[in-house]
């Protein structure tokens, strides 16, 4: 069990009030999580004490900065149980990680007519890079359907696999439905059909114990900012055999071994994919976030979120006019997307905000999924290690207030 009171003290922002004197009730962690003081201070310390550019300098500060930057990578690699830190590429975020695979691996290995399998519940970040490649290369795209209760239809998936796709790319956990997809099974099936598997882990790494080797993922993408870390940094895990064979993504400093006027030789992993001065402070913050989550324990965090989610779904269901999307609490993470009959989600979010309650309204960068369910938008409340049942109660009271206003 988590000591929530203690945990909440680590997040200074949870103490603040909105302009009308309401305490912030933050139910939007799926968009971005809040940051504990340990992460904020790690980045602060770097700028106060160790700021220098990495990998090149021989002076004290450059040595320190490099050690901190690479040390964070090692801890991030351990956190997802990568075989080596060489398999962890720093990127800006999950989106950039997926784009890296689409530009470097896919543009080398896919040709017109090759099939990439995605799902109907993907975030735009795992759709648009493939749309772009389709326009450029003439690859084909197919989608694993989502069932009425928000799960992937694995029978339809098996049928798609008979068409010998080259790549299967899917979200481990849906940012709208909250569905936790059976990643190991999906990857095993992909491999049996001769396809590689890329996993969008933006929502899973922050909330679940993720072991990339146990999953046997070929590529696994995630962002720091959804897991108590800063914005501007994320990671792409890739099996070293694949990464070694891939051409660089962006060209520039730090990704080279040698440059001549008319040619270059690429650096070794992971630096081959990290051109230019990276987000050093953010990488260090990322490392601190991983330390923070590890100290609390991912299993403890997942158990706490399960308890809150179960309670939230139960309470939301009681409200007349509320329609919830996605599977039951046993198949999902801490996300509750819903509509309130006759009231636009933007109005719901705005009125809740007057009581300091932060939820997200819109299509949450998953427009095709909303179209599938025949709705333009949903309101979404999401939970993390610092969320409490009291906050769920305040959300429920707020929704009754919304109903009264539009009643």
């Amino acid at each position: 069990m988590l000591n929530i009171e203690q945990i909440r003290k680590d997040f200074p922002i949870l103490e603040r009030e909105t302009s009308n004197g309401k305490r912030v009730i933050y139910l939007d962690s799926t968009a971005t999580s809040q940051k504990p003081i340990q992460v904020i201070e790690a980045m602060n310390d770097y700028y106060r004490r160790s700021n220098a550019n990495i990998h090149r300098g021989v002076h004290t500060l450059a040595e320190e900065a490099t050690t901190l930057y690479e040390g964070a990578r090692e801890r991030i690699a351990k956190f997802i149980n990568a075989a080596s830190s060489r398999e962890v590429i720093y990127t800006r975020n999950t989106t950039e990680s997926i784009n890296l695979v689409a530009y470097s691996w896919a543009r080398t290995n896919l040709k017109a007519g090759d099939l990439v399998v995605l799902t109907e519940m993907e975030h735009h970040s795992n759709l648009v890079p493939w749309h772009m490649l389709q326009a450029e290369r003439g690859i084909e795209l197919e989608f694993i359907p989502v069932t009425e209760n928000g799960l992937l239809d694995l029978t339809a998936y098996a049928a798609l696999l008979t068409r010998s796709p080259k790549l299967v790319s899917f979200a481990h956990m849906s940012n709208v439905l909250g569905t936790i997809n059976p990643a190991r099974e999906i990857i095993r099936m992909a491999h049996e059909a001769g396809a590689l598997a890329l996993v969008d882990g933006a929502q899973s790494v922050p909330h679940l114990n993720v072991d990339v080797r146990e999953l046997d993922a070929d590529f696994y993408a995630f962002s720091a900012h959804k897991m108590c870390g800063p914005t501007g940094i994320g990671a792409l895990y890739g099996k070293s055999s694949l990464l070694e064979a891939m051409p660089p993504f962006l060209g520039g400093g730090d990704m080279i071994k040698e440059v001549k006027l008319r040619s270059f030789r690429a650096n070794s992993l992971p630096h081959k994919f990290e051109a230019g001065t990276p987000a050093i402070a953010e990488a260090i913050g990322f490392g601190a976030a991983v330390d923070y989550l590890k100290a609390i324990g991912m299993d403890n965090i997942a158990a706490h979120e399960h308890e809150i989610t179960e309670y939230a779904l139960e309470r939301l269901e009681e409200i007349p006019g509320v329609k919830l999307f996605g599977p039951d609490a046993n198949h999902k993470g801490g996300v509750a997307a819903f509509t309130l009959e006759g009231i636009h989600p933007h109005d719901v979010a705005q009125i809740l905000d007057q009581d300091g309650i932060a939820v997200r309204a819109g299509h949450h960068c998953a427009q095709p999924l909303h179209e599938k369910f025949g709705i333009p938008a949903t309101s979404r409340a999401s939970f993390y290690l610092y969320s409490t049942k009291d906050e769920v109660d305040l959300l429920v009271n707020g929704l009754y207030k919304v109903k009264k206003m539009f009643g």
Binding site: N20, P345, H346, Q350, G362, P376, M405
Partner: protein
């Protein structure tokens, strides 16, 4: 912020006077707010002097977007197209009688964007129209 949902806004949202379509019409244009999926179509009838004689909107969206469409159409009937072209962000905020943050401003200004794109006969509505 507390008066964001002023009675006038809720009233125009629930019981709009100008919801519907005009057939025939002289001008018709539609657009979406990609942020939240709000959709608005506006039809206008214009007489020989270039004066708006009737107007209707259709679509779906939040209370702010729908109420501002209703208030906007109410305000332009009897006005010339030249006058309509001069409308801007402040005209809409004045009609709504509220102040809005950058996100909700897009909801409020969708109808003006659609209206002006139609009046100017543009292929696509752009944000410059409502600056």
């Amino acid at each position: 912020m507390d008066d964001l949902y002023r009675e006038v806004i809720i009233e125009h949202y629930k019981n709009p006077s100008y919801r519907g379509k005009l057939d025939p019409h002289d001008i018709s244009f539609a657009d979406n707010n990609p942020l939240c999926g709000d959709h608005i179509q506006i039809d206008l009838r214009v007489n020989a002097d270039g004066v708006v004689t009737d107007a209707r909107f259709d679509g779906h969206g939040c209370a702010i977007s729908q109420a501002s469409a209703d208030l906007l159409l109410e305000s332009i009937i009897g006005k010339s197209l030249e006058e309509v072209k001069k409308l801007n962000k402040d005209s809409v905020l004045e009609l709504l009688g509220i102040d809005l943050g950058p996100v909700r401003l897009k909801c409020a200004l969708l109808s003006l964007k659609v209206l002006k794109a139609g009046v100017y006969g543009l292929g696509e509505a752009s944000d410059d129209l409502v600056e």
